[in-house]
């Protein structure tokens, strides 16, 4: 009896191995809902010649209802959507899959780092070959070009959403300080960062509140530049005037006491809820963060066209990998997923602002929010989303950005001399780039 039990164990283990080996062919960790939806289809697929299309995305890239709509729209396509953890883990997984050369997904969601994928464009399907030119006019031009090569002959992604940058401000505080306090007045009277600093000074004197930290101010200014840390040829220009100006002005704002302490997000959230923050510049996705962070200030916030010019912080794309066996079907799916109507659905569900300007004025898009005193947020975003200038992206941007923000943070937290911090940052960056 005992012997029988023991001989059973290797059998069980052997079976486990067989099962795991099979697992490679089908996506191993589709969410429960997806696998439940797709398992009956799998049996049919042999008989009805269903084409299987795998998709990778992260939570919030596209809404689940849109994916379900795509399944209904394409009955001949077995769309397997895998929700992966977002952020750098996703990028690593995508990179290793692409470089490993195995069978990866057909469709991949890509974040604003899509531009850094352009040097490896031969790993992606040229969407122009699939007819992407026909739908180009629907999308914001600057957003579209982020996923296209410089000569505009190769396109690796279709735009999903954009993240225009706006100013979030406390209307009650602005009113109390006697400064422009309606979105229209702010747009016409607060144009430059200097205007904004002057205004913030008055608000601080009247209410004792500040704008976000020195690091945030620096980051926002960089985000509004049309030049980045590298030229399109990859030459380092992060030590030049456009960056140094932003550095100096952020330092000035800090030195004149306008900025809140450079501290953790938890503390910043507490400060916002405790009326210590009068305004900040943030992307459209900050709406949700702010509502979560500062529930006690409900109804007092408004948004306006940002001082210093518009910018973009995020927003994603869908691309098709070259290894896909069904690029045509995959393209049809992403074309459907990013069509204007579906992007409106995503906006309503997650607040992802669509990259198709034609729908900005549609009644569907009106988004009155109690937290913002029933202001229609969409109209402000619409203005801020047009004509954004995108700085050339480079894979090494992260090295430069994190070194600079780390050093400028020390100017506040450790009272480091700003010039020394600038020099230290540049030395570190040059070391990093030297290898």
């Amino acid at each position: 009896m005992k012997k029988k039990v023991w001989s059973g164990i290797p059998l069980v283990l052997g079976m486990m191995l067989v099962v795991t080996a099979c697992g490679d062919a089908t996506p191993a960790n589709t969410s429960a809902k997806d696998s439940a939806a797709s398992s009956p289809n799998k049996n049919e697929s042999a008989s009805s010649q269903k084409v299987s299309v795998n998709m990778w995305y992260w939570n919030g890239a596209i809404s689940d209802s849109t994916i379900d709509a795509a399944r209904k729209k394409f009955p001949n396509i077995d769309l397997q959507a895998q929700k992966l953890p977002s952020g750098s883990d996703y990028l690593t997984k995508l990179k290793t899959t692409v470089s490993g050369g195995g069978t990866g997904p057909d469709i991949v969601a890509m974040d604003s780092w899509v531009t850094t994928m352009l040097p490896y464009k031969d790993k992606f399907v040229n969407l122009y070959d699939q007819g992407a030119k026909d739908i180009q006019s629907q999308y914001l031009d600057w957003k579209w070009r982020m996923a296209a090569t410089a000569d505009n002959k190769y396109l690796i992604g279709l735009p999903i959403d954009v993240a225009p940058v706006v100013m979030y401000y406390r209307q009650d505080m602005f009113e109390k300080a006697g400064v422009p306090s309606t979105p229209e007045a702010i747009k016409s009277q607060v144009k430059t960062w200097d205007d904004y600093f002057n205004l913030s000074k008055k608000v601080k004197d009247a209410t004792g509140s500040q704008i976000l930290s020195i690091v945030d101010v620096f980051r926002n200014m960089i985000g509004q530049n049309s030049e980045g840390y590298f030229t399109t040829e990859g030459k380092y220009i992060g030590d030049q005037a456009h960056i140094k100006d932003a550095w100096d002005r952020a330092v000035k704002a800090y030195q004149s006491g306008l900025t809140y302490a450079n501290t953790s997000d938890t503390e910043k959230n507490a400060a916002m809820n405790n009326n210590k923050i009068s305004s900040f510049i943030g992307a459209s996705w900050a709406v949700g963060d702010l509502m979560g962070a500062a529930p006690d200030t409900k109804g007092k916030w408004r948004i306006a066209y940002p001082a210093g010019g518009i910018g973009n912080q995020g927003g994603s794309f869908f691309g098709v990998l070259k290894s896909s066996k069904n690029p045509k079907e995959a393209y049809e799916v992403i074309k459907f997923l990013v069509n204007p109507d579906n992007l409106v659905a995503g906006y309503k569900e997650f607040g992802n602002y669509p990259s198709t300007p034609e729908i900005y004025s549609k009644p569907d898009m009106v988004n009155k929010n109690e937290f913002f005193g029933d202001q229609d947020l969409s109209s402000v975003f619409a203005e801020a989303a047009k004509d954004v200038k995108i700085a050339p992206a480079d894979p090494r941007d992260d090295v430069v950005a994190s070194t600079l923000t780390e050093e400028i943070g020390l100017v506040d937290t450790q009272k480091k001399d700003p010039e020394k911090a600038w020099k230290d940052a540049q030395d570190k960056i040059k070391r990093q780039l030297s290898r």
Binding site: I9, Y120, A270, N274, T403, L410
Partner: protein
Amino acid sequence: MGGLFKEIYKHRTLYLFISPFYILFLIFSVFPILFSIYLAMHKWDGIGDMKFVGMNNFNYMFHDPAFWNALYNNVALWILGNAPQLLCALVVAYVINLAVVRFKGFYRIAYFLPNVTAMVAVVIIFQSLFGNEYGLINFLLEKLGLDKIAWLNSSFGVRVVIAAMICWRYMGYNAVIYLSGLQRIPKDLYEAAELDGATLFQTFMKITLPMLRPIILFSVMMSTIGGFQIFTEPQVLAGNQPPYPGSDTVVLYMYREGFNYQNYGYAAAVSWVLFIIIGLLSVVNWKFFNKSDD
């Protein structure tokens, strides 16, 4: 060697039965280890072509102030987090083990409990305890009429916060290990000491400590290995921002180079240097604690 393979071949069915373990082990452990040696001598961004650079990664590392800074922080955190903690653990274990203490089981569980809590949750709690502006500890300091302390602005403050987390988490764990060691010490030794009129302190120094040596070696070695792998605490503490001053550890440095900056070859080189450092320290520990046995 040939004999070994012959033996394996003879018992091939048995080896087939245990194959799930060693096949997975080969794929997920042996191959990555070997590949990381290969990777350490290349420059690779994770997607493009790999470029052979020989020892350049190591050369860059040994001349990188950021690496030495991370190593220094690591040593500081290791000492600050483990030395007081191990001493306290020993005292706690000794006290729990005293015959007069009742409810031993309760204390064992109570002290061990922090070790099973999720690390990220612990860090977030400590983050709000030690917050510069809205932290609970600063709130209490202000109530007592003292000044706020900007814990997270100075290297020393940040190290204290991280060391506090390590102490809180591992003190009970080590205390339970010491306790099991104490219980293995034969009672007759203590009885003999008592008959000879030894004081409590003398028994502790002359009987308890020497008999505990292997256990202490184990705990010091484990905390050395753990101390050089500190990652979650500084990483979660800083969130999206760069690590707080004084909290950039070697593993954090490796993670940043690999997964944020996409220098996978360089990160592999760092991990090998870390491996060698931990290996050397373990040997030193072992020699040190075994010396007086001879």
